[in-house]
């Protein structure tokens, strides 16, 4: 059995000087008539490049065992190609807009709106869309799956097959509805956000964890018949059903923040998450501690902070 590989431009916009912003899709499809379809998208934010390695490894595994594919895997690696090129989070045309606040787009709208529209039209109807994001330069995240509240009941148990370290249900807020995941949810297409840590020194290890989860999910959907890791029981994954399951730890003083590496570990109330210092005064100005016990699944890295800057997110132990 062979797989069909096809690269298609699903949207394009000509730039002023001899360049076209193109959104391309690489489709891997089995020739056995299987109907299942999963989309992997990444690069909405140009400063998040770990998704490149994730989809590259997914493609490599498919090509290494083509007989195991039974259905379609669509890969969209570079949604915000110009932003990715210059490592700019926003779409660096016009007034620097966040692509993940421009969905579902408009067919005859601006360049960005028409591209967002084409992306949603191309993905809708898939069995599952995985929108791969990576933690920013200044935060460290556990490998997480974020599910839209509207589809949470139907998707939480299935999210376990992605083998995440945490699952987070995103509330049905306007800010989320204008994202790719939110727009697809409005179209009744199951879509989740995959959050990958961009700790570059261990890039391959982090990516392997995510790619293992992707194939585990493909197997659950009947799209992949190759060997995969065993999906964990949903009960074993910390799951945050709503905002009450999350403790956000912020700082009170501005300065430079030096973290105590805690991500992925359980902390108790009073444990130190990091210190803020003032280099001019040569003094520490704040010690940031965990206000309660919980699993640290987001932690700020060494960076400048303002009052209110998010230092950590804790998954509340008793509700996990």
């Amino acid at each position: 059995m062979a797989i069909l590989r096809e690269i298609t431009d699903i949207a394009s916009v000509k730039m002023p000087i001899g360049e076209t912003w193109t959104v391309s899709r690489c489709r891997y499809r089995s020739d056995d008539g299987a109907k299942g379809r999963v989309c992997l998208a990444t690069g909405i934010h140009g400063n998040e490049r770990m998704g490149q390695l994730v989809v590259y490894d997914v493609a490599r595994r498919i090509k290494a065992q083509p007989e195991c594919l039974h259905g379609t895997v669509d890969i969209y690696p570079m949604l915000n190609a110009i932003g990715l090129d210059i490592s700019e989070r926003m779409v660096p045309t016009g007034t620097m807009l966040d692509m993940n606040r421009a969905f579902p787009g408009v067919q005859d709208g601006t360049a960005l709106e028409s591209i967002c529209y084409a992306i949603v039209q191309d993905m809708k109807g898939a069995d599952l869309v995985l929108d791969i994001h990576t933690s920013s330069q200044i935060t460290s995240e556990l490998y997480g799956v974020r599910v839209h509240e509207r589809h949470a009941d139907a998707m939480i148990s299935g999210a376990a097959a992605l083998c995440p370290e945490v699952i987070w249900v995103l509330p049905d807020k306007p800010v989320h509805n204008a994202s790719l995941c939110g727009a697809l949810t409005q179209e009744d297409t199951h879509a989740v956000v995959i959050m990958v840590d961009e700790r570059r020194l261990r890039a391959q290890m982090v990516v392997d964890q995510v790619v293992d989860g992707v194939f585990c999910k493909l197997r659950e959907l009947g799209i992949w018949s190759g060997e995969t890791k065993t999906a964990p029981a949903i009960q074993s994954i910390p799951c945050m059903w709503d905002e009450k399951d999350i403790c956000r730890v912020t700082c009170r003083r501005p300065g430079m923040f030096v973290p105590n590496e805690r991500n992925g570990s359980e902390v108790a109330a009073g444990d130190v998450l990091g210190t803020i210092f003032d280099a001019l005064e040569g003094e520490p100005v704040e010690t940031v501690t965990a206000p309660e016990s919980g699993l640290v699944f987001t932690q700020r890295r060494y960076s400048a902070v303002y009052p209110g800057t998010l230092i950590a997110r804790l998954c509340r132990k008793e509700r996990a």
Binding site: T95, D98, T250, T309
Partner: protein, 308 residues
């Protein structure tokens, strides 16, 4: 005049950023006017600064009506204005996509929450804002169609048009949308340009706010006659978009009356100067918006024409 610090963002590398509110009169929270929420909204800042100067004189002359009060917040993003960035620089976020904010959230959400808490108690809200695309508008009043909008009251600004626009998903986190849902009669005023001062448009916008404040019985001052406003909706506006990309050479400007088929702009190959496309008016009407950047991408709205 009272100067209030609405919110302070302490900074490590720089001075603290104080968001200042200039308050006039006492009693009912009648009208709040907000200027720049983005670092490049220079025109919006300028109009507010002139409004503060004007209201100071009105107050000195006893022209703030008893039991009424006005607050003007010229900018909520001085730190980014000084650094020359459009977005809230520390978090690269748009404050006008964070309303109603979160007092316990990120710095951007805290700024939005502090502004919203202070300003949503006012009966009328006026935001001087910019468009999400680069360009110039005919000065007009705009509001979103939330079911709570009051376009008739918007006519009291005396600007030629009051534009009621259907909100998109992303608009639901803007100040105008959230203001309306909180019970404030909210109006956005588009004051011509954004990144530079346009004196004529600033004068027109300032006069419109003064007219509204007089009309609502908040102040008593000299004012100029306004125009009879026409309420328009999305259906009255036709967009002229580019089919090509290149350098944009406009031959018509915002406010120009154009006939159907009249040439509006040329898109030119940036390397060899060849004309790639001629943009023409699809209907007879007035140019309501023009994109004023030097470059244009394919599929970009360049003009909005208000059909007559």
């Amino acid at each position: 005049m009272k100067k209030d610090v609405i919110f302070t963002v302490p900074s490590y590398f720089r001075d603290d950023m104080n968001i200042m509110g200039y308050r006039f009169g006492k009693g009912e929270k009648s009208c709040a006017v907000l200027g720049a929420l983005r670092g490049d909204e220079v025109q919006q800042l300028y109009v507010c600064a002139r409004l503060v100067a004007f209201l100071r004189e009105v107050e000195r002359d006893g022209g703030i009506m008893p039991g009424k009060s006005v607050i003007v917040v010229p900018t909520a993003i001085g730190l980014s204005m000084n650094a020359g960035t459009r977005l809230w620089a520390p978090e690269e976020t748009d404050i006008n996509r964070c309303f109603p904010g979160d007092a316990e959230g990120s710095t951007t959400e805290q700024i939005a929450a502090a502004l919203f808490e202070k300003l949503s108690v006012y009966k009328y809200g006026v935001q001087l804002t910019s468009f999400y695309q680069r360009g110039s508008f005919i000065p007009h009043v705009r509001m979103m169609e939330t079911g709570r909008q009051n376009p008739e009251l918007g006519c009291e600004f005396g600007l030629p048009y009051v534009y009621v626009r259907a909100p998109r998903t992303a608009d639901q986190t803007t100040l105008n949308y959230c203001w309306q849902h909180a019970g404030t009669q909210a109006y956005s005023l588009y004051a011509g340009k954004t990144q530079e001062i346009d004196e004529a448009a600033a004068d027109q916008t300032l006069r419109a706010i003064i007219r509204f404040l007089n009309g609502r019985g908040v102040i008593r001052s000299e004012q100029t006659m306004g125009q009879k406003s026409t309420v328009i909706t999305d259906g009255d506006i036709l967009s002229v978009s580019s089919k090509s990309a290149g350098l944009l050479r406009r031959v018509k400007h915002a406010g120009a009356h154009v006939r159907r088929g009249e040439q509006l702009a040329f898109i030119i190959n940036p390397l060899d100067g060849a004309v790639k496309e001629v943009l023409k008016a699809p209907v007879t009407g007035m140019l309501f918006f023009i994109q004023d950047g030097p470059f244009i991408t394919e599929h970009s709205p360049v003009f909005q024409v208000l059909a007559t």
